[in-house]
């Protein structure tokens, strides 16, 4: 068991540090409330603070709620608890987390390795700081503003993350949002609805609803004279949207995201992915955004800008989520110009799988709006046989047109 290598300033307590850490994570979108902060302290009480790996694992369990968050957590933990900015005695220098790790999503999770080579190189020079002040009460917690502006020691890294995002943000336009909403509603209506296995109450149906029958007839004594029925509930159609975030798509992609946002407002069964060189899920972000916050909404990620590897991105999607998201009631919508820089064979293979396992495939290509455009690009040609609706859509009105013409293949 290694000695504790967590470094804290000698004047502050562990409680304060954990609280600040939780606040920082919350700012980055982690689901952390006061309850989680308390739980993380209780967890540390249980695991003890003698071994930094135990502490890290305990905090990760309490504070994270998805694999992506876990990856980010691992790096932030290192920076926060091992940073030399709090201790002039500690000569440890921190390498900033790799961008890959910070932003790559949907990749296979790395095995949790508590002692990476980089860590092993660092020699512990600080004695355990948790001597007396382990559970000291401390009210000197910095405000959110302090944290945001980097006034608190050690938060400079976080602010740099926040600022770096700003460089790769895509803003969703707010104009014509009502029109986009209409288009989304129209598309939802046009999509054929399957029935689910869940039953719905009603006065007609196939199956007797005993519970309600008894309730209705209780007022009349024990005589049953009215029957309540159950029938299958219509199953919502599911949409999976892929937005090409490469440079060639600027202008179109924002509009596509606006439509994606409109769809998320109208239906609870929408998944949105961004791709360029690899694919990233942004569903949660869109769902969390209220309408008045749209102006400030930005979709961060390494996927914004750069080349396009449509085939590989789709293949990754199929491998990771395909089993679950590709169902017979799934409508796939891809917004891309089809200028593939990766392998065309992979694209064709992926499109074949997507076509065979979905209700319909819509491909929106901004180039199609140009007079005289023929889909002759290699990538587009490979994908074409597997597309049901091939259209362009550059503004909210044309999305509505597209939705009006949409028909499910099955």
């Amino acid at each position: 068991m290694s000695l504790c290598r967590v470094s804290c300033p000698p004047t502050t307590s562990l409680v304060r540090h954990v609280t600040i850490f939780c606040q920082k994570l919350r700012q980055l979108g982690f689901l952390i409330g006061p309850e989680q902060t308390i739980d993380s302290l209780r967890a540390m009480e249980i695991t003890g603070v003698a071994n930094v790996t135990d502490v890290k694992e305990a905090l990760r369990l309490v504070l994270c709620s998805s694999p992506d968050e876990q990856k980010l957590f691992d790096e932030l933990f290192e920076v926060h608890f091992r940073s030399n900015s709090w201790s002039s005695l500690d000569p440890i220098s921190i390498e900033p987390p790799s961008e890959d790790n910070l932003l790559a999503m949907g990749r296979k999770q790395k095995p949790v390795d508590s002692a990476s080579p980089a860590e092993k190189r660092k020699t512990p020079t600080v004695k355990s700081p948790f001597s007396q002040e382990l559970y000291g009460i401390d009210t000197g917690i910095p405000s959110e503003m302090d944290l945001l502006e980097g006034r608190d020691a050690g938060s400079s890294f976080l602010t740099s993350i926040l600022h770096r995002d700003a460089a790769t943000r895509a803003r969703i336009p707010v104009d014509d949002l009502d029109m986009a909403m209409e288009a989304a509603k129209l598309l939802l209506n046009r999509a054929k609805r399957e029935t689910s296995r869940r039953l719905e109450m009603g006065m007609r149906g196939r199956q007797l609803d005993f519970r309600r029958t008894l309730r209705i007839n209780r007022q009349g004594g024990s005589e049953i004279f009215k029957l309540a029925w159950k029938s299958p509930k219509p199953k919502p159609i599911r949409f999976v949207l892929f937005c090409d975030g490469s440079r060639s798509m600027s202008g179109f992609a924002e509009r596509f995201l606006q439509f994606a946002y409109a769809l998320t407002c109208c239906s609870a069964h929408v998944e949105v992915f961004l791709f360029s060189t690899h694919v990233k899920r942004v569903t949660a972000k869109l769902y969390r955004t209220k309408r008045h916050e749209l102006q400030a909404l930005s979709v961060q990620g390494a996927e914004w800008g750069g080349g396009t590897r449509i085939g590989e991105s789709l293949a990754t999607f199929i491998q990771l989520e395909g089993r679950n998201m590709l169902e017979k009631n799934t409508v796939i919508m891809i917004g891309s110009d089809g200028l593939e820089t990766g392998s065309v064979e992979v694209l064709q293979q992926s499109m074949k799988i997507i076509h065979s396992r979905s209700a319909s495939v819509i491909w929106l290509n901004p180039l199609l709006a140009m007079p005289g455009y023929e889909p002759t690009a290699r990538g587009m040609q490979a994908a074409l046989p597997y597309i049901d609706t091939f259209s362009h859509a550059h503004d909210a009105r044309s999305y509505k047109k597209m939705a009006a013409a949409f028909r499910c293949r099955r």
Binding site: G33, T47, L61, L214, T283
Partner: protein
């Protein structure tokens, strides 16, 4: 920490550091544990092993689309209620008495959630399997149970657990679970094991297996999982495969045996073809197999 490892190892479950911490915290903090990961990596098995280690009952709720509160929590035995009404029609008791009788515990059918909360003897392990298969509406029913260890039945009132169950939820990430649910749980991600862990699991689950075969299978699976497959095989498939090979009395894995037993690990025709192609033309699968061929 090692005590948990050892206890689980005794019951044939190989834990790693983070899983052991997860189990320990789950027991001490009395919070539900949400386990996510690909199919077939032993998520469900954790709950089973936990029940064995704690020597308590395992109550399992398999989620599916359309699962509603009456199949998960409680249901009244309507047929019996109707019969009771008919039989007591003319016994001259007041309406109030009749109604009190009608919603008595004797007419209550306990479904898994209620069963877990009303255990009189000890804390059971409640496994809520594949929660992502149930619809969002059902998640909301669960929140009360997960946070407060109680359920509210309109006719009976609130039932509070005497012995708090150890709740394990598993999910394959078919859909995103709600934030409310995630917030109430500890979160653990289990991914495919590395070669060493897989070997340990094979040896723990199948004590008769020889070490060379276990090693070969683990190496093979590691490489197969790197391929872009439609359905990536999990540990469950490795175990099936190992048992199949042992039934065929194969001490080592060679090309021929592998082709014959490929059905144990690959459940899709395209995957099958891809792996056969890799075996013929690819580098890594060939190397592991050639070792087997030479030994033979």
């Amino acid at each position: 920490m090692s005590a948990i490892d050892a206890a689980f190892a005794n019951h044939g479950y190989v834990t790693d550091g983070s899983t052991a911490t997860a189990l320990r915290l789950m027991i001490s903090l009395q919070k539900p544990l949400l386990i996510e990961g690909p199919a077939g990596v032993g998520k469900t098995e954790i709950a089973k092993a936990l029940a064995q280690v704690l020597q308590t009952r395992l109550i399992r709720l398999q989620c599916y689309e359309g699962l509603d509160v009456h199949s998960a929590l409680y249901e009244w035995n309507y047929q019996k209620q109707l019969l009771h009404l008919k039989l007591s029609e003319n016994d001259g008791r007041s309406l109030r008495q009749k109604e009190a009788d009608l919603f008595d515990q004797t007419f209550l059918l306990r479904r898994p959630l209620l069963e877990a909360l009303t255990d009189q003897v000890s804390s059971p392990v409640l496994l809520i399997d594949e929660i992502d298969r149930a619809d969002e509406a059902f998640e909301a029913y669960l929140l009360e149970t997960l946070a407060e260890f109680q359920v509210t039945i309109p006719e009976l009132g609130t039932v509070v657990a005497q012995h708090r169950p150890y709740i394990v939820l598993t999910s394959n990430r078919t859909r995103e679970l709600s934030d409310a649910l995630r917030r109430r749980c500890l979160y653990q991600w289990i991914s495919y094991p590395d070669i060493e862990k897989e070997m340990q699991i094979l040896q723990a689950k199948i004590p008769d297996i020889n070490k060379a075969l276990a090693e070969q299978i683990s190496q093979m699976m590691e490489q197969i999982r790197c391929l872009p497959l439609v359905k990536t095989p999990g540990i469950a498939e490795s175990l099936d495969w190992a048992i199949a090979l042992m039934t065929l009395h194969q001490g080592v894995l060679d090309t021929e045996t592998m082709q014959e037993t490929l059905g144990c690990i690959l459940k899709d025709r395209d995957d099958w073809e891809l792996v056969l192609h890799e075996m013929k033309h690819g580098e890594f699968l060939k190397n592991t197999l050639s070792a087997g061929n030479v030994e033979r």
